[in-house]
């Protein structure tokens, strides 16, 4: 896919290319970390990156975890519907995170170990039906959370993309049952005009006596049915935190820069959108109205 000139003028996009990141999203994770420092913990060893393609978060994680010589016990697993180009020290898995089988596969990759950190930058195919899009987004969070409760160590951190739409306060309430601290964080690299933000959930602390069990035949909704999570209609508003200093680039601002030169070609290989064939037909004038 060719990048539009809008992308080429985007300073985060340029910075990503300069630093060898596959997507400008890398700065969202980095700016979240500037505020919360979850990646600066020297004990951070095992992490799961869900909905990871094209892989800039995995790149950030790989650079953070494998910056020293001692690699023992370090592991990064990245999962996405889309195929990903290999990244050093990252095990990739092409799968649907809402499929119960996928969670089993991830658990297998971890053996008996627990993860220190789980993140998900998942975004569904946006249809334009706001209620459906927000629901599917929430289901991606719930699937990520399902894996999280099966794999995250007590005290661990979970970070997930959210759409701040009409029922976001339900999600905050649900997460509040499982974590000591839930914050709604918005990195400055995330456009102010979008609904996007991130929940940063710190201090994993599941309710006493709740034993989650993964059953291949249950959906994530059923999984959480007998947990206080998801079972009621409580609403809370998580405190808001803007991340990244005011000196960092403002993703809503227009900067007068020349569109970046071709020397900053995408590091990431060409992606294969599902509608590639339709685009080709349209470009060759085969989809005109005269029938």
């Amino acid at each position: 896919m060719g990048k539009s000139s809008k992308d080429k003028r985007d300073l985060y996009y340029r910075k990503a290319k300069e630093q060898g990141y596959r997507a400008r999203s890398a700065f969202k994770l980095l700016q979240l970390n500037e505020e919360f420092h979850f990646l600066d913990d020297p004990n951070l060893k095992r992490v799961v990156d869900l909905c990871a393609a094209p892989g800039s978060w995995s790149q950030v994680l790989s650079r953070k975890l494998f910056d020293k010589d001692d690699y023992t016990d370090r592991q990064i697993v990245a999962v996405d519907l889309q195929a990903m180009m290999p990244i050093d020290h990252v095990t990739t898995l092409q799968a649907d995170i809402t499929h119960p089988r996928t969670l089993h596969q991830i658990l297998e990759l971890f053996g008996n170990h627990r993860a220190d950190f789980v993140c998900s930058d998942g975004a569904p195919d946006v249809t334009g039906l706001h209620d459906l899009d927000e629901y599917v987004q929430q289901q991606l969070i719930m699937s990520a959370l399902q894996l999280t409760v099966c794999i995250l160590k007590r005290g661990g951190t979970f970070v997930a993309k959210i759409f701040r739409g009409r029922d976001i306060d339900l999600i905050y309430a649900q997460l509040g049952y499982l974590f000591d601290q839930v914050t709604c964080a918005k990195p400055r690299s995330s456009r102010g005009s979008s609904l996007e933000a991130f929940v940063v959930c710190q201090g994993y602390n599941p309710p006493e006596g709740w034993q989650p069990s993964l059953d291949t035949n249950s959906s994530v909704v059923e999984f959480f049915q007998d947990c206080p999570v998801g079972s009621n209609e409580n609403r809370t508003i998580a405190p808001f935190m803007a991340c990244g200093s005011l000196e960092s680039f403002d993703s809503d601002a227009t900067y007068h820069v020349e569109p970046s030169a071709t020397s900053l070609d995408p590091v990431q290989g060409p992606t294969n959108p599902p509608y590639k064939r339709a685009l080709e037909l349209k470009r060759s004038g085969r989809l005109t109205r005269a029938v």
């Binding site: 959906s219 109205r289 029938v291």
Partner: protein
């Protein structure tokens, strides 16, 4: 607060008997489709939208949407205004619902591929699923083939289509072939065929038994959302994000596209249903429109004749190269002339009338349908005029004439007087010094009543004609109009040049006589149209443009008001001829005609239109039958987010208020809201902007400004004293500084100085510019220029306080910043922006909403802000008399005033209350007295991406994806 009307996404439609049932936001609308009458509006769910409607043979209707279901009787939805008390919830999203074979139960398919079987009390009696396939679905359908055969067709995000059998809970097929998420799956009646669509934009047809893909249909240019088999599974209909509805023939397992209808505004058509008896389809879209289209074949309405057929049929031999040179359509048929001067008539058959060698090789044909008169002319200034009786069976009068004041004629045009039985013929010579000749005839006797030699304006080439009283209006190439007074031919004509960028004027039609003078609609080939008003006098004083706009695309050939007062435009668009309802923005009809032709005519007929054209020397007739049913049941609004709403508060217009909506779809709509019913009527959709809108505001009762990316800021002028409609024209654009397409003018503010004003414009690159606007010169002049910081500015407000001029800004950095501009604007030079007088950080990130209230008595200026950080605050700037400065003090802040971004706010009730809109879809009213924010009332709105708000008296308009009208109670 309570809702009085709503326009927005309609997600489901269903025909039953005489009615259409439409899921319209959380409501079900019931229309009698033959008349278009809205029979009832029934609230189905508290919050959720109605995504699906199913009607059982037992008189029950099942509505579902999101995690809600409501089962009720058809009678209830016809009679009650709400049935929310019987709303039930499921734990998972409902993808589809269906009654069982004897309507004693119904099934719900959830997004995790589970089926809930429910009894008619809505108790779940059984849960079914196929083992291990519990990933999320975007689509799915339930097919009840028989009492003991029910198929579930599940569309996954990665694993193709999973077909399973409900009672045995067994996997029947896994259909792989699409790429991307499956967005719809539908099974035919007996369960042998499956149609599907996905993110790959193709439609696929599958054979269930063999699990083979039978056919792939490529045609849609964006995602497809709904599919339906009809006419005994011989047809499939699809609707898409690309705004079209397409019909596919299924011939021996192959999909063949057979019709395309452009049905909705950008973007998304969500649902379609078909009435087989009347061969009608109804579509619903994100724009809230409900569109009815006829599915009957168009081929039967078309006829083509080759020259040979015409010759054979009329039994006259044609010369070797003889072709049709001109024609005119009458209610009795066609009258045509050939290149040999043969005059022919066509009713059911071709008939030779006469031959006139004077009209050999070159001739022009004009006609007056009303009087059955045809006028032939040649380049030697000869005229032949024939008048037929109304059946066309006889020529009742004829006249031949030579005009000797001209040596040569290159154009002949005709028009009829609106009030008198007279018609006018103009002849134009290629010699610029020759007069422009106009002849006046009697429509009965065809007697010549007058002859006028008019002085031709410079570089003039006539292209269309209109007569009003004694004024002859002549359109020309280069978008010029000349107006001659036939009672005073010695007078120079009034010439208006360059109404629009400059192609040929294609039509001029009188539309009304307003207090200010007669109003005409003028079309231009380049796609622009104008409404002009003549200020009459002796001589004519002035020609005033009161409306200017551009059609969606293509060549514009003409326009008129229909019986509903809707403006209809027509012309060519690439391969097509189109007829478009410009007021409501929909295509009435299109015909493939192979592109713009030199010889064509669109005639109005009692049943619709007749399009006649010559293509590759063949004569083509195409009838357009106006449907007997309304073309739309509901008009709707923008198809994309409404970013700003501006109510004209200065005066009332016809039991309500005028307002503008500015949308992401790059258009601005000028509308009216009825103060008691909340009914919204759209008058115009303005297409001048080329990027998504940011803001629109009325400056006065006559002026409006809109702004968007590409530094577009346009000044518009409103005319409200016409009978037909309010009109609005583009007046001026703000000069731009460069060509950065991303540079947005995010807000602006105005301070009047007489009829001139000062404009403060703020930009996404942190630029702040002040301009002087001179009304007489119609000119913007830069006065002050500078930058705030480097971040994006979001709000600006100019105000006066203690005889000082101030500008307040808010930006993405969460700060309010105040500039004192009192001594800055002087002389003709551009001054630098002074430094900020005071600034305060109130929010963590963007301040999206800002309202200012100046309180002179208490020496304070209050600023109310709402932000991306969910917070709402009151900040008071107090006057420090020693330093003569305004200094900020944070008075109150509610950190979690909403659960997501507060996008818009308005002060109401003499600034005692503040209404806020936020993306969590809740509208809140806050009491602001004593500088404390106290929540008074809150209510959920079905308008998603809630981004704009405006209020006048007790009316509240809420915009986002859709538009709602609410009323607030006065406290």
């Amino acid at each position: 607060m309570h809702s009085v009307s709503h326009y927005g996404p309609a997600l489901s439609v269903k025909f039953l008997d005489r009615f259409v049932y439409a899921g319209y936001g959380p409501f079900l609308h019931v229309y009698e489709y033959a008349t278009g009458k809205l029979a009832n509006k029934c609230l189905i769910f508290n919050k959720n939208k109605v995504h699906g409607v199913r009607i059982g043979d037992n008189g029950l209707i099942l509505c579902y949407g999101s995690r809600s279901v409501n089962l009720t009787s058809i009678q209830d939805v016809h009679e009650k205004s709400s049935i929310v008390e019987s709303e039930k919830h499921t734990s998972e999203w409902i993808i589809s619902g269906e009654f069982n074979s004897d309507c004693s139960q119904f099934y719900l398919l959830t997004c995790y591929d589970r089926v809930l079987t429910c009894d008619l009390e809505c108790h779940v009696v059984k849960k079914s699923a196929v083992y291990g396939e519990r990933s999320i679905l975007y689509s799915g359908s339930i097919k009840v083939v028989s009492e003991d055969k029910v198929f579930i067709n599940a569309g996954t995000v990665m694993g193709g289509i999973i077909v399973w059998e409900l009672f045995s809970e067994t996997l029947v097929a896994n259909l792989l072939g699409h790429s991307g998420s499956i967005f719809y799956v539908e099974m035919n009646r007996d369960g042998s065929l499956i149609a599907s669509c996905s993110d790959d934009r193709s439609v696929r047809l599958w054979d269930l038994k063999s699990q083979k893909e039978l056919s792939v249909g490529w045609a849609h240019t964006a995602r497809i959302w709904h599919l339906l088999f009809y006419n005994n599974d011989t047809r499939l209909i699809s609707v898409s994000e690309d705004c079209t509805c397409r019909v596919w023939d299924i011939q021996s397992g192959k999909l063949l596209q057979s019709a395309i209808h452009e049905v909705h505004l950008t973007k998304n058509v969500w649902c379609v249903d078909v009435n087989e008896k009347d061969q009608l389809a109804i579509t619903s879209g994100n724009d809230g429109r409900l569109r009815l289209i006829s599915l009957t074949e168009q081929e039967s309405l078309q006829r083509n004749f080759t020259i040979k057929q015409i010759s054979d049929d009329s039994k006259v031999p044609f010369a070797k190269q003889e072709i049709i040179k001109g024609f005119h359509w009458f209610s009795f048929g066609l009258v045509a002339i050939t290149s040999e001067g043969k005059i022919l008539q066509y009713g059911n058959q071709w008939k030779f009338l006469m031959q006139n060698p004077q009209f050999k090789s070159y001739s022009m044909t004009n006609g007056i349908s009303k009087d059955n008169i045809v006028i032939f002319s040649n380049n030697k200034c000869n005229l032949l005029i024939l008048k037929f009786n109304s059946e066309g069976s006889e020529i009742v009068a004829s006249r031949e004439l030579h005009v000797d004041t001209l040596t040569k004629s290159q154009n002949c045009m005709v028009c009829r007087h609106h009030d008198r039985n007279e018609f006018f013929v103009t002849l134009e010579s290629p010699n610029p010094h020759d007069p422009f000749m106009c002849l006046k005839f009697d429509t009965d006797s065809l007697n010549l009543r007058g002859q006028f030699g008019l002085k031709k304006p410079e570089s003039f080439a006539s292209s269309c004609l209109e007569i009003y009283e004694s004024f002859l209006l002549v359109g020309s190439r280069f978008s010029v109009i000349a107006i001659f007074d036939l009672n005073n031919t010695s007078q120079e004509s009034l010439v208006s040049r360059r109404l629009t960028p400059g192609d040929t004027t294609t039509s001029i039609h009188l539309v009304e006589f307003s207090i200010g003078g007669p109003v005409f609609v003028v079309t231009n080939r380049d796609g622009y149209y104008n409404f002009i008003r003549l200020k009459l006098g002796n001589p004519i004083e002035e020609l005033e443009i009161i409306h200017s706009n551009r059609t969606a695309r293509g060549f514009l050939e003409g326009a008129y008001y229909d019986n509903n007062g809707d403006l209809i435009t027509y012309g060519f668009k690439s391969e097509l001829f189109y007829i478009y309802n410009e007021t409501q923005c929909y295509e009435k009809a299109v015909r493939v005609c192979g592109g713009a032709h030199r010889q064509w005519e669109l005639a109005r007929t009692p049943e619709g239109f007749m399009l006649v054209f010559i293509r590759a020397s063949d004569l083509h007739f195409t009838r357009v039958i106006e449907p007997k049913v309304p073309e739309v049941l509901q008009c709707g609004t923008h198809g994309r987010e409404i970013r700003d709403i501006a109510l004209l508060k200065d005066f009332k217009y016809k039991n309500g208020h005028l307002f503008c909506t500015a949308s992401e779809d790059t258009t601005i709509k000028l509308c009216h809201v009825h103060e008691s019913t909340g009914q919204v009527t759209t008058f115009w959709t303005l297409r001048k902007h080329v990027s998504g809108l940011q803001r629109c505001k009325f400056l006065s009762s006559k002026l409006m400004i809109s702004s968007s990316a590409r530094e577009e800021l346009f000044l518009w002028e409103l005319t409200t004293d016409c009978n037909t409609k309010p009109y609005i024209k583009f007046r001026q654009a703000l000069p731009i500084s460069g060509n950065n397409p991303d540079l947005r003018i995010t807000d602006f503010s105005v301070k009047f100085e007489g009829s001139n004003f000062i404009l403060a414009a703020v930009y996404s690159d942190s630029a702040v510019k002040l301009w002087r606007y001179n009304h007489l010169q119609n000119r913007f002049q830069l006065a002050v220029e500078g930058h705030y910081k480097t971040c994006c500015i979001l709000n600006a407000s100019l105000f006066e306080f203690k005889n000082q001029s101030y500008l307040m800004l808010s930006a993405t950095d969460g700060h309010l910043s105040l500039y004192n501009l009192t001594n800055t604007m002087n002389g003709g030079t551009v001054c630098p922006l002074p430094s900020v007088e005071s600034s305060i950080q109130i929010h963590q990130s963007s301040i999206k909403a800002m309202n200012i209230s100046v309180d002179d008595q208490n020496d304070a200026v209050r600023v109310y802000t709402g932000g991306d950080d969910n917070a709402l605050a009151i900040c008071a700037f107090h006057w420090e008399s020693q330093t003569k400065r305004l200094l900020p003090h944070l008075k109150d802040v509610q950190r979690s005033a909403a659960s997501s971004t507060i996008t818009s706010s308005e002060l109401i009730n003499d600034d005692k209350q503040l209404v806020t809109a936020s993306v969590d879809q809740i509208v809140r009213i806050w009491d602001t007295e004593n500088d404390k924010l106290v929540l008074q009332e809150q209510k959920y709105t079905t308008v998603a991406d809630t981004g704009s708000l405006d209020a006048v008296s007790n009316l509240l308009l809420i915009g986002g994806v859709g538009l709602s009208v609410w009323k607030t109670e006065h406290h």
